[in-house]
Homo-oligomer: 477 residues x 2
């Protein structure tokens, strides 16, 4: 651990973000420009995210599979908007086994095309539908400006790809998975996202409609944290995904796709982190509890360590670590685990041992206010309670912060001022021109048209024209 | 499911293998030459393999991480044997974001080099050691002749990479992971592998010593099913992985690597499969139990289905499916699930219902001999027992088959005859010349020098020279 002080978030949010990731050993830069190494502490967080999502995918009837990394260039070209959207970002394999390839292979930036091709082979009849497949995979997009987790050349994600007999079913699936993401973000990551529809400009290349969950980071900027796309029959027509319906007529399928990536780790860091470092939501935390024994002499050590071991055994049902390093002080350990965002620290000193208690210190409430003495008797149940309390407190705090930074300005000048340090929620006529002008003037973009609309009509914040929907606008990552 | 008959294993083992994979929907060919799509049924098997291995890795102190897919070409060149071994098999990215790259990027065929580079950054002192990291990843090797699961251009695996302070520790780790693989293969997959050391010719490019688990397939050919490498200081020197020891002297680390891939799925298929299709070992089976209701009238259906549902609920602790399709007959379902290798089928007909029993049919024992009536009362415990019995029976059968096909010929002519339909276990002088000549004469290769040696010396089966070790020789995949 570096001994230099971490930059504070108000000083330099961006540098705080980079430093906290590097110092907490979440990830590191790799020698290949724009790619990262996800270190064990970061990867364990991703594994926990995976488990929480995968469980939900399986509960909603999905199964996992694996499709190839390489996609023939010609596949991407079959869907016009898709290739336009992705071609500037492609990594291309031109040599294989020492020879120049006849057709270059694209390293998948997303897999609608190759999966569409396979679905056209597998789907024959209405009996084969719906097809509900997900894959956990790495994808590559050649990004110019990269940031650890937020935007890297290679990233890890899941991509769900489903095919349905009817438009209604496909639309239902699109929204079901948006709900799954929302539920995951709020209830597992304590990230109070706002679900909604993307504007035409912001939607996925090839989609009819894109939905998103948008999260507010600690600097008030927005982060698109997961997306679900209704693809209509665009890919079905490009790849001939057809089925015989009950009256033996050939029909095109309706497809969807949806994805959430390691970018979400960035969302967790920037939603909950503070000037001491990371703050991990207990349900996803790589480590939920760390035990730090405190002693100043061999005699005290002999008293404290057996109790620390006993507590460690009692807490085996949690993701727990006993920090028994002897070469560093308890103070060093406190800072170290605070930096890493472990939700609960259990301190055990000689006086605790005498009283039959431990001192529990909450990561989300610094200093004395976050400390409680807990009897060792029945400790596991109390720790469980405390972790739940921390989980709720994080969600409440993030929700309060979000709501305090969303405003509804009365006019365009108000918008320009408000997006400097928050989101605005405003009526918008829906025109690309107004959207583009707002972006040009403020660098803020439409984030989403939320599912819950006030109803009625209003006046567009930019042009004053009639508006039927309200939209969130913010500067975004 | 295709209605054509599956080729038998004795007719055409290779075609049986391909057909069983395609028909059971384990995998499919992809449009990119040499790559495959792993379909949900196959991927679920892989997920179960992953869980069983990952648990063992974590129990032995390892953690997971993720290293980049792309490796600078110059990295591979740093270890001479390594680049010689892998350069004919590389896929190379030469274009990124529309521009020609200054330095081409190799799609990882394995990750010793990039991980070595990162370890040299992370490891400073003896306190940082050992580093025990594993990753679950896709890798690419440009293979000319590919076979589903056995040899595909892209495959999925885990690769462990560890760094240690001493040679002894690194050697211990290499053998520990060989033990983990052996234990996994035997106790989870019921594949009775033989662990041993690879010959100089057969070892990993860049290793000092390679260890392997070798399995005998149903056609008696050998399959290398997992490998563990002691890398000495080769990669530590190539990548400057150094640490300060307790007396503050700079030392090179000792490293290991070990991997097991989706190839192991091929081992399971070819060890246990029969002329009806797959036979899945219960501990890894994607589906452990399938329930098939049997009725000929609506009246019978009304009697049977509630019991089938009740049984399904009672067996929820297993990976269980109730096959309630109405468009196909029970006979069709029997064949379908036999093809897919589900270890246990539960049939429920009107007469079963009257007697308060179900009929359990074991996949590993075809026909009446494998059927038992089980009381519905306390069914879960009986199913659990039966699955354990099937698991043991598969291991016993495979072990008996293996042992019946290993011989110890007295002379070289005997060897030439024996390797046509089995393995031989013979004294070998260790010379590359003898090894090469045996391969040339018989297409059989040294598979492994097993850990358990008889001791003493013998005469080389080929040259008659003094031999200190016995070796398994066989035709291999």
């Amino acid at each position: 651990m570096s001994t230099e002080k971490l930059p504070t978030r108000s000083e330099n949010f961006s540098e705080w973000y980079n430093q906290v990731i590097l110092r907490a050993e979440m990830a590191d830069y790799s020698p290949v420009r724009g790619t990262m190494v996800v270190r064990p502490y970061g990867w364990t967080l991703w594994e926990n995210i995976k488990d929480a999502l995968d469980r939900r995918f399986k509960e909603t009837g999905h199964v996992n599979a694996a499709f190839p990394l390489f996609i023939p260039m010609s596949f991407l070209e079959k869907e016009k908007e898709h290739v336009e959207g992705f071609s500037p970002e492609l990594a291309v394999v031109t040599i294989g086994g020492g020879e120049k390839l006849e057709e270059p292979l694209v390293v998948r930036p997303t897999s609608e095309t190759i999966i569409g091709y396979m679905y056209s082979k597998w789907i024959k009849s209405y009996r084969d539908l719906p097809v509900l497949i997900n894959q956990w995979a790495n994808v590559v997009r050649w990004e110019m400006r990269t940031r650890l987790f937020l935007r890297t050349m290679e990233f890890y994600w899941q991509e769900g790809h489903t095919a349905h007999a009817t438009e209604a079913e496909a639309r239902e699936e699109t929204l079901r998975m948006l709900d799954v993401y929302t539920d995951f973000a709020i209830n597992e990551a304590a990230v109070p996202v706002i679900p909604g529809r993307k504007s035409e400009t912001e939607k996925f290349a090839g989609a009819v409609e894109s939905y998103t969950i948008e999260a507010m980071m600690g600097d008030t900027r927005a982060l698109q944290s997961g997306t679900s796309h209704f693809l209509g029959q665009n890919f079905a027509k490009a790849f001939d995904i057809q089925y015989l319906d009950t009256s033996n007529t050939l029909q095109y399928c309706w497809t969807t796709s949806w994805g959430l990536s390691t970018r979400f780790i960035g969302a967790i860091i920037m939603t909950h982190g503070d000037d001491q470092g990371l703050v991990m939501p207990p349900r996803l935390a790589p480590l939920q509890v760390v035990i730090v024994p405190i002693y100043r002499s061999d005699e005290e050590r002999a008293k404290v360590m057996p109790v620390a071991d006993q507590v460690f055994q009692a807490l085996k049902g949690f993701r727990v670590k006993l920090d028994d390093r002897t070469e560093v002080t308890p103070g060093f350990k406190f800072n170290d685990w605070e930096l890493r965002g472990v939700p609960l620290r259990i301190e055990i000193g000689p006086r605790d041992v005498e009283k039959g208690v431990v001192t529990a210190a909450r990561r989300d409430i610094p200093g004395k206010a976050g400390k409680t003495a807990l009897p060792i008797e029945g400790l596991a149940a109390q720790v469980d309670e405390l972790l739940k309390t921390i989980q709720s407190a994080l969600l409440e705090r993030a929700t309060a912060f979000r709501d305090a930074h969303i405003s509804e300005p009365a006019d365009y000048d108000g918008l320009k001022e408000a997006v400097k340090d928050g989101w605005v929620y405003v009526w918008w006529c829906g025109s690309k021109e107004c959207e583009a002008k707002i972006k040009e003037d403020t660098r803020a973009t439409t984030r989403c048209i939320p599912m819950n609309q006030p109803g009625g009509t209003g006046r567009c914040i930019h042009c004053g024209g009639e508006a039927h929907e309200k939209v969130y606008i913010a500067r975004a990552y």
